[in-house]
């Protein structure tokens, strides 16, 4: 997992201009999802999560990231999929959107891929529920399909918050 990230960094340095076409991809079961790399600040292995009561079920709680306290979301639960037990491949992808830092708990991190905008097609309208809400596009790399996620929506939807409020 860490070398995926190292590769990501190297590639970042070489191809700064195409940052907005670079995606970090992760697995949930058999499906591969992608997040634009510009949001990702780091990836850490699953660690102790402190439960906070009275939160939506997909907000697992908070973690201590080198002294900074960050909320974490279980992506499976966000997609209303069944929860699985965490293992040593489970990762937390730490994202930063404006002033908000947040972690996504995923089954495992897959790769850091370049997906040029031309290879991204809008999601079909008739889809299962969670796809509709959070997938902003479908990317194709060779034979692989990567579901590109709208991070802001994933974080903010149904939380009754605005970006400014956090």
């Amino acid at each position: 997992m860490s070398d995926v990230f190292e590769n990501a960094q190297l590639e970042d340095e070489e191809e700064e201009e195409s940052l907005d076409e670079k995606y970090l991809t992760f697995m949930l079961g058999e499906e591969e999802f992608g997040i634009n790399i510009s949001f990702v600040t780091e990836i850490v292995g699953i660690q102790a999560i402190t439960f906070v009561p009275e939160l939506p079920i997909f907000v697992k709680g908070i973690i201590n990231l080198r002294g900074q306290i960050i909320p974490v979301i279980d992506v499976r639960l966000r997609f209303e999929k069944e929860e699985v037990e965490y293992n040593d491949r489970t990762c937390i992808i730490v994202l930063q959107l404006k002033d908000l830092s947040i972690g996504f708990i995923v089954d495992s991190v897959a790769a850091c891929d370049q997906i040029p905008n031309e290879s991204v097609i809008p999601p079909p309208i008739a889809q299962r529920n969670y796809h509709q809400k959070y997938v902003s596009g479908i990317g194709k790399i060779q034979d692989k399909i990567v579901l590109i996620l709208d991070c802001e929506k994933m974080i903010m939807e149904d939380m009754g918050l605005s970006m400014e409020a956090v």
């Binding site: 906070v52 009561p53 939160l55 908070i62 306290i69 909320p71 908000l100 918050l161 409020a165």
Partner: protein, 723 residues
């Protein structure tokens, strides 16, 4: 001049400070006389004048100027029979104008009101003063406020030979300029120089004076046109036509030019030189009307690059947090030399940063000294050293907190003005007594409580204290007393606003409360305190009219909210006919607190020590009963509801019966409950961190903290359980 945000901040800050200072001086002067303060008032106005002019807020600057003139007169002439009340009003009005403009400036960056009328009023007042003082024709003070007769001893002109200003030196360009002047020296050179100064450079006659003064060192037979370089006419003359200086010197042309070039702010200079020879050699030199004409811009401007091209360089130390513009650290003035206590002003963002770092230091220290790796090791030396480290860190923490502490005096003193104004306008007589103003609170807190306090004071004067006649009829003294008191008490600061007015009308309050649906209980079921407290609730109002000062009851709950924002609480007590007292409790320390770590299932909580009365393990001897579905435990005859944190937060916990875990008795002024937890893990000083903004408020949790082993513990909001 490009206006920098930080400069604007500083202008606003300093001017506001000065105005506050001035107000206090004036109010004090009403009681103790003004003469001791005139000089300081003058200096304050002088400073505001200068700064406002720099920022191009001309109306403010001119207004300050006219007040400065007024006080200049008072200082110099010390007239008797001055109507000081009128004087104070005038100045206070001026202060209000400036304050208003400063507010506008803070919001919008510009000031638009005109001060002409006010200036005219002040000018008229000054004229009257002068007339009265000099009992006759008022001496006209020169417009620019210059002192009277300038000392005539301009040494420079003294040595001049017969200077004649009527000679039109400039006319007839081709003529031999030197023919107009006579020189007795027959050695060296004769010079005629004309210097024009930069437009707007100011006091051009003095610039001329400076040059003339300097030229004395290298010349003889010096004279100048205009011959008189004192006074405003000279200044105007020189502004228009420049100054012409005629002299003889041993120095060569280039040397004289170099000498002249050391003069600041010259626009142009013209140097004509002629060798002075014996009469028989005159022919050789005549007509050699050589000289240097230069656009002074070349010489003196050489080093000055166009200001616009250089971007503003930021001072390295200026803190620049995301939202706030950085104000450079002010006042390097460590006045150790004058024996006064050195004071500097520091940007509050730096203090915030300091607090955060100290907080992290406390956490880090516990992560080291309580690191799980050390469990079970025998570490005497290490422990000793760790204790020393803790001791030092504690001290550092105390000091860094005290750095942020500011006495309430400035805030309290503001209230004098408010009371005074209100009394005047409402026709009441009120004495404001201030006690304990030296009490200090965190700077953040001061900002949050100033408005609520003002509101409370206004309430007291407007609704509390009765009109003098009414008071007399009620057997009270005609003038009412409002007491504003601050004191420290076990980790909290108390601020109490008390008046001896008419108190709260409980019947009216009760009726209003019922009408607004705040209660459904009958009058008898409620205690007096509970009835009075309705005033603090949102959506309550007994004022049928909106007065200018207090508005609708929408004020009180805003006051309460403001206090609660800083973690404080408000209590109210009143006695009809006798008066009302409002007590505000504010926690002293914000971010670091002493807490007890408890455990419920897999979750750890921190309970603030200050809320804990005692903790114990329940056993059969304790009387635990079910009362209306609520479990109650009797302690020393008092019923304490038991709250299972496990249930409140839906946690998994093994502790079943009340005898397995621990009871933590927590309390506030009125209630007492027992929190039931699995175990106590210890007591520790913790750094309070807010829950991430993404996580909306969780009832019962007020924040979180990092424990020594890196785990996160939630901080319990005890108040939630004491409702």
């Amino acid at each position: 001049m490009a206006v920098d945000n930080s400069l604007m901040d500083m202008f606003v800050f300093e001017t506001t400070q000065l105005i506050d200072q001035l107000e206090n001086i004036l109010i004090d002067s009403e009681n103790n006389g003004i003469s001791g303060n005139i000089d300081e008032i003058f200096r304050i106005m002088h400073t505001i004048k200068g700064s406002a002019a720099m920022m191009m807020f001309d109306d403010i600057s001119h207004l300050a100027h006219s007040i400065e003139d007024l006080f200049f007169f008072l200082r110099e002439k010390n007239p008797t029979n001055v109507d000081y009340a009128k004087l104070t009003d005038l100045v206070l009005d001026g202060m209000d104008f400036i304050k208003n403009e400063i507010d506008k400036i803070q919001q919008t960056g510009s000031s638009d009101a005109k001060s002409d009328q006010m200036r005219e009023t002040i000018r008229q007042y000054l004229e009257d003063l002068k007339a009265a003082h000099e009992g006759g024709a008022a001496a006209t003070v020169a417009g620019a406020g210059a002192v009277g007769a300038a000392a005539a001893g301009a040494g420079a002109a003294g040595r001049a030979g017969s200077a004649d200003a009527s000679g039109s030196v400039g006319a007839g360009g081709g003529d031999d300029v030197f023919s107009a002047f006579e020189f007795s020296t027959q050695e060296g050179f004769a010079y005629v120089i004309t210097v024009r100064f930069e437009d707007g450079s100011g006091m051009e006659h003095l610039r001329a004076f400076e040059l003339v003064n300097r030229l004395q060192n290298i010349s003889t037979e010096l004279r100048h046109i205009p011959s008189d370089i004192d006074g405003e006419t000279a200044m105007d003359e020189i502004q228009k036509n420049g100054v012409t200086i005629i002299f003889a010197s041993e120095l060569e042309h280039e040397d004289v030019v170099a000498y002249i070039e050391q003069t600041a702010l010259m626009k142009t200079y013209d140097v004509k030189v002629k060798a002075l020879k014996r009469p028989d050699d005159a022919a050789a030199g005549a007509g050699a009307d050589s000289g240097t004409s230069a656009d002074a811009g070349i010489g003196s401007a050489a080093a000055a690059s166009p200001a616009a091209a250089i971007p503003a360089a930021e001072k390295p130390e200026a803190a620049r947090p995301a939202q706030q513009p950085a104000a450079a650290q002010g006042g390097g003035g460590d006045s150790g030399g004058t024996g006064k206590q050195g004071i500097i002003s520091v940007n509050i963002s730096k203090l915030d940063k300091l607090m955060n770092l100290v907080g992290e230091l406390v956490t880090s220290e516990s992560m080291v000294s309580q690191n799980p790796d050390l469990n079970g090791l025998q570490l005497d030396n290490f422990n000793k050293a760790a204790r020393q480290l803790q001791k030092i860190i504690n001290e550092l923490q105390d000091v860094s907190m005290s750095v942020r502490m500011v006495p309430l005096s400035l805030t309290f003193q503001k209230m004098h003005r408010i009371v005074r104004d209100m009394c005047r306008k409402l026709g009441k007589e009120v004495n404001l007594e201030i006690i304990g103003e030296e009490t200090e609170v965190d700077k953040n807190i001061i900002e949050q409580i100033t408005n609520p306090l003002m509101h409370l004071i206004r309430n007291s004067v407007d609704h509390g204290i009765e009109m003098p006649d009414d008071r007399e009829r009620a057997g009270k003294r005609r003038s009412g007393t409002v007491t504003l008191e601050a004191k420290n008490e076990s980790g909290d600061v108390w601020i109490i606003v008390k008046d001896d007015g008419q108190g709260l009308d409980k019947s009216r309050i009760y009726e209003k409360a019922r009408r607004n649906g705040l209660t459904s209980k009958s009058r008898e079921e409620l205690t007096d305190k509970e009835i009075n407290s309705f005033i603090l609730a949102a959506g309550f109002s007994t004022n049928e009219q909106v007065t200018e000062y207090s508005g609708r009851g929408v004020g009180m709950d805003v006051v309460v909210k403001g206090i609660e924002t800083v973690g404080g609480s408000v209590m109210l007590d009143s006695s009809e006919g006798a008066g009302t007292q409002i007590s505000i409790k504010i926690p002293l320390t914000l971010a670091i607190m002493e807490g007890m770590i408890v455990n419920v299932g897999a979750t750890n909580f921190v309970i603030p020590i200050t809320s804990i009365r005692e903790s114990f393990k329940a056993n059969e001897r304790h009387n635990i009963a079910d009362v209306n579905g609520e479990d109650i435990i009797m302690i020393r005859g008092e019923p304490n509801p038991i709250i299972r944190l496990r249930d409140r937060f839906s946690l998994n916990s093994k502790a079943e019966s009340y005898y397995d875990g621990i009871m933590i008795m927590v309390e506030n002024e009125t209630r007492q409950v027992c929190l039931y937890v699995d175990a106590i893990l210890g007591q520790r000083q913790v750094v309070v961190k807010p829950l991430p903004g993404y996580i909306k408020e969780v009832r019962g949790i007020s924040g979180c903290t990092l424990l020594g082993d890196g785990s996160i513990s939630l901080i319990l909001d005890v108040a939630e359980f004491l409702l």
